[in-house]
């Protein structure tokens, strides 16, 4: 329930959505609504004045394989994406997020761009070197600008977009969906809970790629950790994870809350990495 007297806008095109954002101060793009609605009810954090519903924009609900890439609209519900067969790692990660009926509404773009610290859906996309397609408002009366960039270039702890920039879709090279993978998710109690840590690890030939969330207040993929893990695999030396722990700590203070201490999370991630490497050996 949103008590404020808001506008509801349902554009048919991405250009109309961006134009509505320009005209309506305090507007937010609405897809699944799971975060906007719960936040608007619970706190005054949102100065919400308008919801721009993007679910009827064709580009935001595309789900297709074309020209060697899988294209995933930002407004696709997680349960719909997870039903697909093209990207097994993504499916596995999405099935761990929230619960089934929430996933029937929660969207891919909403999870990646959300305010909660976990944003687990971004992990496979970071590993696969996905690109992200957006439409940004133009300067003053200029037309909006369509941009396609590497996700890793616009995801620094969180998705960094310009004000009013609309997330349309992700694109993943098909070969990345075929790499051997391992996904692990650990929670304090029940399956349906925020994670202590969620990890995703892929093996592209001899190269290891690793991404994690839950350990810091943001998800990340680190080139330094990738290099350390790859070197360990290539040399065949017994893997020591002291280096990985140092890198984790260098990335910022580890989360410590009622679900788990920082020390526990660090130990847990090291164990999860070892288990994943054994799975892919």
């Amino acid at each position: 329930m949103i008590c404020a007297d808001i506008h509801y806008v349902r554009p048919d095109t991405a250009e109309e959505a961006v134009e509505a954002w320009r005209r309506l101060p305090g507007a937010r793009y609405l897809a699944g609504g799971t975060e906007i609605l719960s936040s608007a009810r619970r706190t005054a954090a949102y100065e919400l004045r308008a919801c721009i519903d993007i679910k009827r924009i064709p580009e935001t609900v595309r789900h297709e394989i074309r020209e060697g890439r899988i294209h995933l609209g930002a407004a696709l519900a997680l349960s719909d994406v997870a039903e697909g067969e093209a990207f097994p790692l993504l499916n596995a990660v999405l099935r761990g997020i929230a619960d089934r009926t929430v996933r029937n509404r929660l969207t891919l773009g909403g999870n990646v761009a959300g305010l909660l610290p976990y944003r687990e859906a971004v992990l496979p996309l970071l590993l696969a070197d996905a690109t992200v397609l957006t439409l940004a408002p133009g300067a003053e009366d200029a037309p909006p600008v369509r941009r396609e960039r590497r996700l890793r270039d616009v995801f620094d702890k969180r998705l960094v977009l310009a004000p009013g920039e609309l997330l349309l879709s992700f694109s993943v090279p098909m070969e990345a969906t075929e790499w051997p993978w391992s996904h692990q998710r650990r929670t304090r109690t029940s399956v349906v809970d925020y994670p202590l840590a969620t990890t995703a690890l892929v093996r592209d030939g001899e190269a290891i790629r690793f991404a994690v969330t839950g350990v810091h207040p943001y998800p990340f993929r680190s080139d330094a950790i990738d290099a350390a893990l790859t070197e360990g695999v290539q040399t065949g030396a017994p893997l020591t994870l002291g280096g990985v722990e140092s890198i984790l700590e260098a990335l910022g203070a580890l989360r410590a809350d009622s679900r788990g201490s920082a020390e526990y999370r660090a130990a847990l991630v090291k164990k999860m990495i070892l288990t994943s490497l054994e799975e892919l050996a």
């Binding site: 329930m1 949103i2 008590c3 404020a4 007297d5 808001i6 506008h7 509801y8 806008v9 349902r10 554009p11 048919d12 109309e16 509505a20 609405l30 699944g32 609504g33 799971t34 609605l37 719960s38 608007a40 009810r41 619970r42 919801c51 519903d53 679910k55 099935r95 929230a98 619960d99 089934r100 009926t101 929430v102 029937n104 509404r105 029940s190 399956v191 349906v192």
Partner: protein
């Protein structure tokens, strides 16, 4: 492009019946069902998408109606527990004692009906994945699990009856 501000007329097909209701853009589907259409089967539990007591089917998909704006549903088909009267899943919950206080039961039944429609054959992992969406503080879930088995066994003993769609039953 459609722009709504202030009170607007919303057209829904609720339990097979066309309904027209005046809503504001900020009202959730749950509030509109309960307070404007008098359908109090969907319960207002956490209003945070956690408990599942407000579950209804939106175009056949189970959703938590506390997390859906009513204006998003214009032209959609909504099924609430009132629309599942004498549905095999409802009968199964009664037969298997899949309830105690009953507060969560409407949401459990709406979700279970959609589950059995999508997965007529029993699969423990799938059942668990779907039904984890609904919290029950009374039953310990065994009765609910039994109800799924009874529903799949079929009120009239046929697989077709078990798998029939919610809309078909209305």
């Amino acid at each position: 492009m459609k722009i709504i501000h202030g009170i607007t007329e919303l057209h829904l097909c609720v339990n097979g019946e066309d309904r027209c209701v005046a809503v504001r853009p900020g009202e959730t589907l749950l509030r509109v069902l309960r307070e404007k259409l008098g359908l109090t089967g969907a319960k207002c539990g956490c209003e945070n998408g956690d408990c599942g007591a407000c579950t209804v089917q939106l175009d056949g998909i189970p959703v938590k109606s506390c997390l859906v704006l009513a204006v998003e549903c214009d032209g959609s088909a909504i099924t609430t527990i009132e629309g599942l009267r004498h549905h095999p899943v409802q009968e199964a919950f009664a037969a298997a004692n899949g309830y105690q206080c009953g507060f969560c039961t409407p949401g459990q039944i709406l979700n279970a009906a959609a589950l059995i429609q999508a997965h007529p054959e029993s699969d423990e992992a799938v059942d668990r994945e779907w039904m984890q969406s609904n919290l029950c503080r009374c039953t310990g879930y065994e009765g609910i699990r039994d109800a799924l088995a009874v529903a799949r066994a079929g009120g009239d003993g046929t697989t077709d009856a078990r798998a029939r769609t919610t809309s078909d039953s209305l």
